[in-house]
Symmetry: C2
Subunit: 173 residues, 2 copies
Amino acid sequence: MELSPTAHVILGMLAWRPMSGYDIKAVVDHSTRFFWAASYGQIYPELSRLADAGLVKGKAESASARKRTVYTLTAAGRRALTEWLGVEPRTFEYRDEGLLKLFLASAAPETAVATLDAKRAFHEAKAKQLREIEAASKAEGYAGMVLRYGIESSEWMADWCRREAERLREETA
Amino acid sequence: MELSPTAHVILGMLAWRPMSGYDIKAVVDHSTRFFWAASYGQIYPELSRLADAGLVKGKAESASARKRTVYTLTAAGRRALTEWLGVEPRTFEYRDEGLLKLFLASAAPETAVATLDAKRAFHEAKAKQLREIEAASKAEGYAGMVLRYGIESSEWMADWCRREAERLREETA
DNA sequence: GAAGTCATGTAAACGGTTACATGATTTT
DNA sequence: AAAATCATGTAACCGTTTACATGACTTC
């Protein structure tokens, strides 16, 4: 039973507490988003598939509030999750258009500093955003650890851009 | 005339010197690969499209060596490249299964250290590989700058993993 | 009553990887 | 003669994003 990459995010989230697809999307958006995104177009179909496979179980909640389907992890789902956690991570993908432009900047050197500045601004904004999440959520345990990774690595990248932009400015001065 | 993301890599490479699709793939594989990959399945069709659009020009070389098609950047191609370099970079994508497993590790805490160790090993191997490329290619100008970014960021990530793994080991000791 | 947000889903398109297919040339 | 590498390409598949569609409930 091969699980898709995003299936594991869902299983992992449901291990914390039962959630609807909408909930999962919201949690993803202010937590794993910066290193593992997921859209509705994936979450909802994936939830159905996981339910068919017996790894999660959906329960319609129409009582008082809006009608929504809350999913719970089954025993088999928990087993699949812990099994996956025990396997060495392999996918590491990284696409950075800023680095690409910088790499090719010799074709238009006057653009290099602006590219560095834009990349720095991006990482600074990301760090700020993650710091806000940290402050709002107390950020404990493994989730907090990963959040700090996001903050610190963003700051490192922003610093790198600052240093290199300065170096370029000095060189051309 | 909307260019696909990878089209720019091709234009950028051809700005250095005329190359065949095979050449481009080889150059990508030991340069942009760590932040912008490209496969044959993209490069060859993209070259045809760029040739149709008049941004590159292919010339069959069957003289002495193997028959191959060498592409050159046209004036329009160079214009498209510099124009693109002047636009702020926007795509920044990052998928890190190691971080994801760490983030969800509370469901199986005994796996956390192994995940950190695996992620560290990955970044160390990447740093080593990039350092070899640096040594082999003298790494000048913007390409060298980006290469050093790869080395230094990989080392930062490896260090982070080392620190956190140690912290976890101490905590459980 | 309007705006916002909760909530679920689908269809089309996109970008990309993998595997396959082929064959010539060069090196061992 | 075999193995490696040069060289080009296509087809199938995969995961994902975006846009669209719908509607109910809640807050202002």
